[in-house]
């Protein structure tokens, strides 16, 4: 793989409702900010990838609303319908195919949709949809399967929420910085057994942008380039009943490929910080298992052992993660931006010490059906 780098990043602050901005306004802001961050002009960008979804936007051809705002009006532009980590993957492939710099933008306004209806649309229209299943109730099934398999208690999941909302206090972009305790999570309102309100990410509005460039452009950008060392994605079966929900096999496969590309043999030793997409608390430990950071069933013990907390051996979600700001689709791109900021040493109060290599992750589909894993680093 030719050398490519993340040379510009930008995010909006994530909020419950951005009443004064339409999709194009959000995307315009992050496009301009990412260009400024990179020290590039719009003319330096020769390819554009937007990320959106017709269901969430309530618009068919949802990419159309942000073509102007992303600077794509006379450029090769396309739209990935899915998580931003996948959009960035397409952006990378364009640079590897000969474009010099691709900007990848993602937007989401949870305030303008009903996520129960839009995520009910993920399920089989004949056999499952009429049961009322949606992203949250499917996640609850997965949490139950995971707990049952390994004898996990709900408190282990609650610790993730406590950690990530606490980390969010260091992140100016986060929506829900909070000082909470395990007891607060346990007594919060039940959403879908075993998930309680504080086990679930909020409804969020926001946008993010990343500029991926070739070596030549990276040599003249304003900030230290964050080199792309490995990336891969993988999808497993569709019907929940066909899947082992307690074993994220597609994530394990994507991670294996990404590590191989990056030359990583021992992820826990060689990766300094991880940003994983966890709109539900149980997902963080489950994904840590899929990523090979610990043995199956031990994901929830990593906080207690002081491994994934700030100052631990492998801090996970210093940003506060999706539990603290949950703009769907933007989520994976935000994880990649946070990983890049960590490598740059520009993560402010949430900075992890001496980050050489960082991992970012996003997923598509119910209960993490399709995962994308990124490894980025400071060394070329």
């Amino acid at each position: 793989m030719d050398k490519t780098a993340i040379v510009g990043v930008a995010q909006t602050k994530y909020e419950r409702r951005k009443k004064d901005q339409i999709f194009a306004d959000l995307v315009f802001d992050v496009t301009r900010a990412a260009l400024d961050d990179a020290g590039l002009a719009l003319d330096d960008i020769d390819s554009v990838v937007t990320v959106s979804n017709d269901f969430f936007d309530g618009r068919t051809i949802s990419g159309m609303s942000v073509g102007d705002a992303s600077g794509g009006q006379d450029k090769n532009i396309s739209t990935v319908s899915g998580d931003g980590a996948f959009g960035a993957f397409y952006g990378l492939m364009r640079v590897l195919s000969g474009y010099q710099a691709t900007i990848v933008v993602a937007h989401y306004k949870g305030s303008e949709g009903d996520v129960k209806i839009t995520t009910n649309g993920m399920f089989d229209p004949i056999f499952h949809r009429h049961l009322g299943i949606d992203a949250i109730s499917a996640a609850a099934l997965q949490a139950n399967a995971y707990m049952h398999r390994y004898g996990i208690q709900e408190e282990e999941f609650a610790e993730v929420s406590v950690k990530n909302h606490g980390n969010a206090k260091n992140n100016p972009y986060a929506q829900l910085p909070m000082d909470i305790t395990v007891a607060d999570v346990m007594k919060s309102r039940k959403i879908a057994e075993p998930l309680k309100l504080l086990d679930c990410g909020p409804v969020s509005d926001g946008a993010a942008a990343v500029i991926i460039a070739n070596e030549k452009i990276a040599a003249r950008t304003k900030k230290k380039p964050v080199w792309i060392r490995g990336v891969a994605h993988c999808c497993e079966g569709y019907l929940l009943g066909d899947r082992d929900l307690a074993s994220p096999v597609a994530l394990a496969e994507a991670a294996k490929k990404a590590y191989a590309m990056a030359g990583i043999k021992n992820p826990t030793k060689e990766i300094d910080v991880a940003e994983v997409l966890e709109p539900y608390s149980y997902m963080e430990p489950l994904w840590l298992e899929g990523l090979g950071f610990c043995k199956p069933g031990e994901g929830g013990k990593q906080i207690g052992r002081g491994i994934t907390t700030m100052g631990g051996k492998l801090p996970v979600n210093p940003s506060g993660g999706a539990l603290s700001a949950n703009p769907i689709l933007v989520g994976g791109l935000a994880r990649l931006i946070e990983a890049a900021l960590q490598v740059r040493g520009e993560a402010g109060a949430r900075q992890v010490k001496k980050v050489e290599t960082a991992l970012a992750h996003g997923f598509n589909g119910p209960c993490g059906q399709s995962h994308c894993v990124w490894i980025v680093g400071g060394k070329k």
Partner: protein, 386 residues
């Protein structure tokens, strides 16, 4: 610079107005198995998959996740790309970058639509801005009717001139066993068909179809081993120029996106005189006037000359530059697959697999996509490794 890439296999369903016998997942499976058989590959040979449609036609969110059992993406990378009518072309182009990037050797591109499960206009109308565009000027037919009227006014083209495009494509469809509408139409039939929005009549416009298309792409070195005559990518150009329908209404400028995309594509492919150097074109012409006005924007003839160019049968089978040997969009329109069908049909022509619709000795074939807010994509395929 990226690797060279070729199409080595294509597959499509027998397109119909209704496929109540299958789900869209099963329809995808039909196209995928046909494409794999055409390339003499199995799903195990495929490294990655790109899929596209328009969500609101089937009302399935995350079709990349939903379609796995049909697409064959189980434990493989799959990505969804969706850009409206241009979806099929952007899927083909995304698959092209998958291979050109060096990350994947054999990639499957899939487009599908089951329009029978939707209210097509009800879904399309939501593409435009909810406050400014949606209530005044939206959906497919009104904007095209305005464009046609402006073209007639400017160049004096007649409704009969446009109807000849429909007669041509509907006749070509008789050579294509996969085409949805297999009943020929004459200029007189089209003129007598019911008016939808002046000057567009029922015979002037595309149907809505159920169908799927799949294309297998492979990298240089591998493609030659799979296919005896691979269809090499010589150009892939995209211009999705407008966001607002209000910006697209200066029809005197022509179809700006097509002018820019084709110019870019000819530059990539080193083509100076398209009519001389191209042997066949599969154009996304959703209505008959597009077969006049847009072939001017793509440089097949000068401004205002299209009625004569088409009238002289240059674009009929056996003409100088046959357009839509497959019968085109006016005969078959499963929207998310439509532009991919153009690319697949161009590849079929280069590979010499066109059967009754084959144009003799095709070296260069051009395919287009159209959609969104007057957007255009152009792909040029050739028999010679670039």
């Amino acid at each position: 610079m990226g690797r060279r890439v070729a199409i080595v296999g294509t597959g499509q369903t027998y397109h119909k107005s209704h496929r109540p016998d299958v789900t869209s997942r099963e329809m995808i499976y039909e196209a995928v198995t046909a494409a794999l058989a055409d390339a003499d590959l199995t799903i195990r040979d495929i490294d990655a998959i790109v899929i596209g449609n328009m969500d609101h036609f089937e009302s399935i969110n995350y079709v990349d996740a939903y379609s796995v059992e049909g697409s064959g993406a189980f434990m493989k990378p799959i990505m969804k790309v969706s850009t409206g009518g241009t979806t099929g072309a952007t899927v083909a182009i995304a698959a092209y970058y998958h291979v050109a990037s060096g990350l994947f050797d054999r990639v499957l591109a899939i487009g599908f639509e089951k329009n029978s499960e939707s209210d097509t206009t009800g879904a399309i109308i939501t593409c435009s801005d909810a406050i400014w565009d949606r209530f005044s000027y939206s959906g497919a037919i009104p904007s095209l009717a305005t464009e046609a009227t402006a073209y007639m006014e400017k160049y004096g083209a007649t409704q009969e001139d446009a109807a000849l495009v429909g007669e041509r494509d509907r006749n070509h469809a008789l050579n294509n066993p996969y085409a949805h509408l297999q009943r020929p139409l004459t200029v007189a039939d089209i003129m007598a068909s019911p008016m939808l929005a002046y000057p567009i009549k029922l015979g002037d416009i595309c149907p809505r179809s159920d169908g799927a298309c799949a294309v297998v792409l492979a990298a240089d070195g591998i493609a030659q081993k799979i296919a005896s005559r691979p269809a090499w990518f010589k150009a892939a150009a995209v211009r999705h120029t407008y966001t607002w329908f209000g910006d697209s209404t200066d029809y005197n400028q022509g179809l700006v996106s097509m002018q820019r995309a084709s110019k870019d594509a000819y530059r990539q492919a080193g083509i100076r005189n398209p009519v001389e150097e191209l042997d066949v074109a599969e154009l996304y012409l959703p209505y008959t006037w597009a077969g006049l006005k847009w072939i001017e924007d793509i440089g097949f003839c000068g401004p205002g000359e299209a009625a004569r160019f088409v009238g002289d049968r240059n674009t009929h089978m056996g003409g100088k530059l046959p357009v839509n040997p497959s019968g085109g969009v006016i005969s078959t329109n499963c929207i998310g697959a439509t532009a991919l069908l153009r690319v697949a049909e161009a590849a079929i022509q280069v590979m010499g697999k066109g059967g009754k619709r084959q144009v003799p000795d095709v070296k260069n074939a051009l395919a287009t996509g159209f959609g969104g807010c007057f957007w255009s994509d152009v792909v040029i395929l050739g028999s010679e490794r670039p």
